[in-house]
Amino acid sequence: MYTTFGSLNTALQTLHSMQQSIQTSSHNVANANTPGYSRQSTVLVAGHPYSVPAMNRYAPFGQVGTGVVVDRMKRFRDSYLDTQIRQETLARDGWEVRRDVLQQAEVVWNEPSETAINSQMSQFWTSWQNMATTPAETGTRTNLLADADALATTITDTYRQLKDLRTELDAQVGRHVGSINTLASQIASINERIRDVEGVGQQANDLRDQRDQLLTELSGYINVDIHEGESGTVMVSLGGKLLVMDHVATQLRVEADPANGTLNRVVWADTGQIAQVGGVQLAGGLSAVAPDRLGGKLGGTLIARDMIVPGQMNRLDQIANTLRTQVNTLHSAGFGLDGSTGLNFFTGTGAQDFAVNSVVLADTNKVAAAADAASLPGDGSNALAIARLATTKLMNGGTATIDQYYRSGIAELGQQARQAVLMTENQDLLVQHLEERQEQIAGVSLDEETTRMLQYQHTYQAAARVMTTVDGMIDTIINKMGLVGR
């Protein structure tokens, strides 16, 4: 038994469903370029059919359909791909920081160039050679002091720039921790909203997009573990301690690390404990495994601050210390033109305050080129001995000259930078590839949406036509029937 009004209702439901579908398409088109947006679609299902009520069921008639309903809003997204994207983003952002720092260090060292340390150093050694040849000439002495002063200044200047770089990285640690806190709070607050929406059986598609986006962003900072719970909320933990749980975010903060020259270390705001990742504390004294275990902007910054930059500062210290002690030992045993002896050529305690002794710098006669007071002024043998330090293997336990040690440092820096550039590029390609795969699933195709809209539009028009038809039928029944013979 069918009802005429039943058909009207079916047509009405069709109009509603098609409207909602077009609304969804419109939403998709609107967000075609929104980062993190996942395409949605209405899941259309046939309405509940009913059996025609009858005393004696007449077999050939089955159930009668009641039209279409929108069952739910489907969100297209592969959450496993998201997990992979986060892992690779973590690695990429960590390498990116290291790449940037290494490239900045390359600018600081400024090799190869005519003004950097390598060139200054060979200038310094050749000046001693000249000194050995013409020890009695004031011009030679003036040149030597100028060259030595230039070398010392370049070394202290390079050291200072590396130190500035480290200070800047330390400030970045603080900024990154701030970003992590903000992201954690945002995730916690979205958690709460998703729980409220999904608790009543709806799909919080757009909120999930936002949260996924925030989680990916968070993974760009530091290694975190993400688990989705039953009620649609996620738990985020950092080194086994919960950063986000339900609607609560535990904050991190930075504090001066007394064991690491008062540079920042990362601690939990609630317990004051040092935060850690994979057994590596986010504080000074990073172990050799840190580069393998720490990722993201914060991890990369800590590695750069506590491993990469200090390694280079240490190299410069080694060079300054060896130059100072070796040259001083020889120089203080020699004699200046005025008979002075026992004077150090360099002063300082490392690369930081490496300088030519001001007493020598002020008086060219104090340069001790002669080996003996009796052999003044023509003897340059002490200067020759100093010049020969250039080719003496003084570094790395007697396996490298100072110049070689310096150059291998530059080569190592180049290798590291090259590796970081390649790794960043590779990781970036990986992330791009994964994002493309996610885009295949979640991305909005304008052609597709246009096609769907046409489909929906036509269905809408047909449903309207059904209404008109039914309307005509009712009109026929009400207004035109029973008029026979009138």
Binding site: A32, N33, L102, Q103, E106, W109, E111, P112, N118, S119, M121, S122, Q123, W125, T126, Q129, N130, A132, T133, A136, A370, A374, S375, L376, P377, G378, D379, G380, L384, A387, R388, A390, T391, D403, Q404, Y406, R407, I410, A411, E412, L413, G414, Q415, A417, R418, V421, Q432, E436, E439, Q440, I441, G443, V444, S445, L446, D447, E448, T450, T451, L454
Partner: protein, 300 residues
Amino acid sequence: MRITQKMLATSALNGMQTNLRRLSELQRQAVTTRRVNKPEDDPFAVEQSLGFRSKIKASETTRGNIGLSRDWLSATDQALDHVGSLLNRAQSLALQGASDTLGDEGRQAVSVEVNEILEEMMAVANTRHGDDYLFSGFKLSTPAYAETRDVQGQISSIAANGVISGQIVREVEPGVNMVVNVSGDSVFPGIFNMLINLRDALVQTPYDPAALETAITDIKAGLNTTLDVRAAVGTKMRRLESATARMEDAELGMQELLSKAEDADMTKVITDLNQQKFVYETALAVNGRVLNTSLLDYLR
């Protein structure tokens, strides 16, 4: 596989970025004519090129200093040449003085000439090269010898001005030392004494031919010593010359290696640049056509 407009746009952007990056790298190489500008461009080449630069610099300096040493030796050689010709003159004067035909007056005249030679010899012993005394050992700024004169103003004796035996050692090749000076001690003392004796023997009364004989023998000995010293100086000069030539060759070789390590192969760079430009233009053309199409163009 679903393809979305965003994927097309992203791959267009990425492709253009990659192309532009390659293009800019090639442009940098073409403009700077250098293949490596940063350690990361080629760490090994940078390490090498830094090493070559230092070595070339050191070699150039050593060569410059060898030049100075050679000048010094050459000045010494000239002075010794002068000593030799003075001794030859003294020898012929002594033989003339020893001749029986010469009377007291004649010998007196010869003696005056010998005295002049002595004065000249004294000047040679105190020769300067630039500001430095050649034969003073380390005492570059003081004359090697000082004379004592009698009441007539004649040189009665000559003595070294302090210690002049200092040996000036210079590095002439990496790790190789050479004594570049000749101390007056090894040349002059005997000569001075012999000249003074000869001068005095010529005017001695009574005249003693035996004293002249001794002087003639001594002059021969002095000539031999001078020749020996001069030969040694000549050998050193030749050694320095060959060292300079060797170092010049080595420097050329290192320059070549340096260039190989850090210079761009311009032919290759320009070829690559053209090719890359073509690739980039193709990418732009393709993107321009693909990104412009949409289903909407074909609906009503």
